[in-house]
């Protein structure tokens, strides 16, 4: 019977064309939107994780309370020992130390006096040991506009925006002026090894990137660091897993009565990332719900129109003795077949578009110039396994639901009135 119905669908275009188009358009939009949203939210999470939050972050309780002020006087002490402990207790994760600091970048004239200066937001990370993976994690190679990544102590990367504005070239020197961990004045002269542009104003306004060893020297932070960032295996954020790590670490190492004791936070608790993760997690459900609701209404309507158009056919079939439930069942099987065809078509088309947006992301750098949070500069979609079925099942469900609602009209037909209705 299925073959019979399938041939009917193929041969009678008026029976199948509109529903297939409706289902495939709905499935296509669902797949594209979910693929794109997943890509954008995934990138936001990755950028924030790599630049500032990690998948989990360890800070002192006081530092965490005042994090926006970069309070290195409240930084973690005995940090190498703590990092070793983290590596021992959570060996599958990657742990890196970071120091973030504020201050002034002062560029000297020929006499060694201030020629120009600007505010600096510095990040110190392990640049000199490739095994740390920090250069890759921060995407520094790609962000490099001029020069090279620091290879030696006393070298620094500065933002390309700063370098351009103040005519600072690779090889020039500048002095960092700020406060040490103990509150003393910090002065350290660096050579510009390169300039970087991350494409995010928060990083590009006054970014200064140096090696941890230089920061420790300048800021008097021997065996200290503001933050220890942890990254989950495969560098994939899993909030449940991060929550377990956070809970076990804090239970064992954090003392609520000591403001300098370490405390672990997971990504979803930092930088308002929880909202983004919640939106990303619920996005598929929201999209599918809207799709099924809207498509069911459309397909119900289409089914009603189809029912009207096939009014005579159903009447004839009833007159010939076919049972109402058989007609209803066959119309549902037809709906399943049309739903499969439309969903497959919509999924394939959607995946093609998602893949092309993954390879050729949309450049939105012109629109994010003044955004103060870490945002991706390109909006890309991502092909994930869920996209292969996320639109398919709702497409099928909407078609069947629509036809099931419309098909109820069959049971309202009265055999006694068939000949009158058919004007036989």
């Amino acid at each position: 019977m299925i073959k019979f119905l399938f041939l009917g669908i193929l041969r009678d275009k008026s029976r199948s064309l509109l529903p297939i188009i409706v289902v495939s358009v709905g499935v296509f939009l669902t797949v594209v939107m979910i693929g794109w949203m997943n890509g954008i939210f995934g990138d936001i999470v990755d950028i924030n994780a790599n630049f500032t939050t990690g998948h989990v972050k360890v800070m002192t309780r006081s530092y965490a309370d005042n994090e926006s002020q970069l309070p290195n006087d409240l930084a973690l002490m005995d940090v190498n020992n703590l990092t070793d402990t983290l590596r021992r207790e959570y060996p599958d994760m990657t742990w890196v130390q970071r120091i973030r600091f504020g201050g002034l970048i002062d560029v000297p004239d020929a006499k060694g006096e201030t020629r120009c200066q600007g505010q600096a937001i510095g990040t110190a990370l392990d640049l000199f040991h490739p095994a740390s993976g920090e250069v890759k994690r921060m995407n520094i190679q790609k962000a490099l506009k001029k020069g090279r990544i620091p290879l030696h102590p006393g070298e620094a990367l500065v933002s390309d925006e700063f370098a351009t504005r103040y005519h600072v070239a690779v090889g020039d020197s500048f002095t960092y002026f700020g406060s040490t961990m103990n509150g003393s004045m910090a002065f350290k002269t660096f050579i510009v090894s390169g300039t970087v542009r991350f494409g995010t104003s928060i990083m590009d306004r006054g970014a200064m990137i140096i090696d941890l060893s230089d920061a420790r020297l300048a800021l008097d932070m021997d065996d200290a660091a503001g933050e220890i960032l942890g990254f989950l295996p495969e560098n994939l954020y899993d909030d449940g897993l991060a929550k377990n790590v956070e809970a076990s670490f804090n239970a064992k190492h954090s003392n609520p009565k000591n403001e300098f004791s370490p405390e672990m936070f997971r990504l979803s608790e930092l930088n308002s990332m929880g909202q983004y993760i919640a939106i990303a997690d619920n996005m598929s459900f929201i999209m599918v719900f809207i799709f099924v609701l809207a498509m069911s209404v459309v397909l119900w309507n289409t089914g009603l129109l189809g029912g009207l158009r096939r009014y005579n056919e159903y009447g004839l079939r009833l007159a010939l003795g076919e049972e109402k439930k058989h007609i209803y069942r066959s119309s549902l099987i037809e709906a399943v077949l049309i739903g499969i065809l439309g969903s497959v078509l919509g999924t394939v088309l959607g995946l093609i578009v998602v893949y092309s947006l993954q390879v050729h992301p949309l450049d939105v750098s012109g629109m994010t110039g003044k955004v103060t949070m870490l945002m991706p500069q390109t909006y890309r979609a991502i092909v994930s396994p869920s996209l292969f079925y996320i639109g398919f099942l709702p497409g099928l469900a909407a078609m069947v639901l629509g036809n099931a609602l419309a098909g109820r009209a069959i049971y309202k037909r009265k055999t006694a009135e068939l000949f009158k209705e058919l004007e036989v």
Partner: protein, 239 residues
Amino acid sequence: MTAGFLLLAFALNAQDAKTIMAKVDQNMASKNRVFESTMIVHGKRASRTMTARSYSVGEQKSFTEYLSPVREQGTKMLKVGNQLWIYSPSTDRTILISGQMLRQSVMGSDLSYEDMMEDSKLTEKYAAVNTGTEEIDGRKCFVLELTAIVTDVNYFKRKSWIDTERFVPLKEELYAKSGQLLKRTTLSGVKQTQGRWFPTIILYKDMLKAGDGTEFQMTSIQFDQVIPDYIFSKAALKK
């Protein structure tokens, strides 16, 4: 006897705020001063002690050289007008600080660069109201409320507790224009030097900052000295 005391008390209360301020200025303001100081910064984790030698002429010129600890030794600051130059011997660089940066903390203390260089006559910058008397550490004080009459002041409002006999402030509260309390200072160790009373120990507490405040002790002070002009030149920074 009682009547005489009451008369004296009435006379003291009746002293107008302007006269009190003028007497405070006679003690606190000077043509110039040369002093050595010890600054103890009580941080959240530990305390740090620094010593320095300073020369200042009014509020316009000042020069400070840090003598200890080793990390700060040789660091010099020169202020002329609204500009401040800091010399760092470790980098052999002179860095200019101006504008908003002057409101930053000096060496992680509760003092800003502006606080450090304040040496102007209150009568020239504030209008005062005498609100009564209170006792501080057993000493009777006038309580003055000062409101700025010029725009270039560090603090728009001040509340000062002035020793009724020696005319030096024993406590001050410094407020922003919004009314927010920014700093509280407690002054003690009042000594008579060159015919004037002067508090030699000042405890600064930045109310917007954690920690137990900064103790600023003047270990020696001389007023109205002959200070060579070259002290207030950039050339002196590198000497």
